[in-house]
Subunit: 123 residues, 2 copies
């Protein structure tokens, strides 16, 4: 799972539920340039081209703790993205080098609300 | 929904699925001290005392975009927390003052994985 630390993505403009999401919470091991930033940006770009991709939101604080939420039409789309060869290599490097801890959840979205100035302007 | 910008919470140590989560993604209106930080810290403390609360993860970047994920046993627990009087007032102020946009999702967690050095040390 890639995380862009610099790109301003904002709130994702997702369709009405039901759909699925992946929460990826992670603590970065270090802030040195170890190839992470380039990989993270590449993973976001690659995710956008995958079947069933609906959107992505990402934030990382100065303490190195970050959360990325990606949205997908079906669980099968999530499974396929997990197995993507380039993504799988990024997962291996994340496991070994980039994160001191991470936790991932796959969940079915039941309800969604946007703020009055949210991505689609509806409450 | 409260967000602590300073407290180091890390990955939540959640139980095996199924359970529920709330994703709250938001863009802060300004970084001035407008009472937001104190409210955010208070909301995390208050959430921890609510029935069905399982954990919380939060990150906010320098651009003011943040994501908080809270975990709950049931949808009824989430509905009850939403209606809490102090929380409801925080929601009103968030709507009016603190956020330029926000988006909220309620989802049922189907599967969860932790990294090798994750909150519970299991893959």
């Amino acid at each position: 799972m890639g995380i862009s630390d610099s790109a301003r993505m904002g709130c994702a403009a997702t369709p009405p539920p039901p759909y699925y999401l992946v929460v990826f919470a992670s603590q970065r091991a270090a802030s040195t340039d170890d190839g992470y930033a380039a990989m993270a940006q590449r993973m976001v770009e690659l995710a956008r081209t995958q079947p069933g991709f609906l959107g992505i939101e990402s934030a990382r604080g100065e303490d190195g703790f970050g959360i990325t939420v990606s949205y997908w039409e079906t669980e099968a789309d999530i499974a396929r993205w997990k197995e993507d060869a380039e993504h799988a290599e990024a997962q291996r490097r994340g496991n070994r080098e980039w994160y001191t801890e991470f936790a991932l959840k796959i969940a079915r979205v039941e309800r969604a609300y946007n703020g009055p100035r949210g991505p689609r302007g509806t409450e």
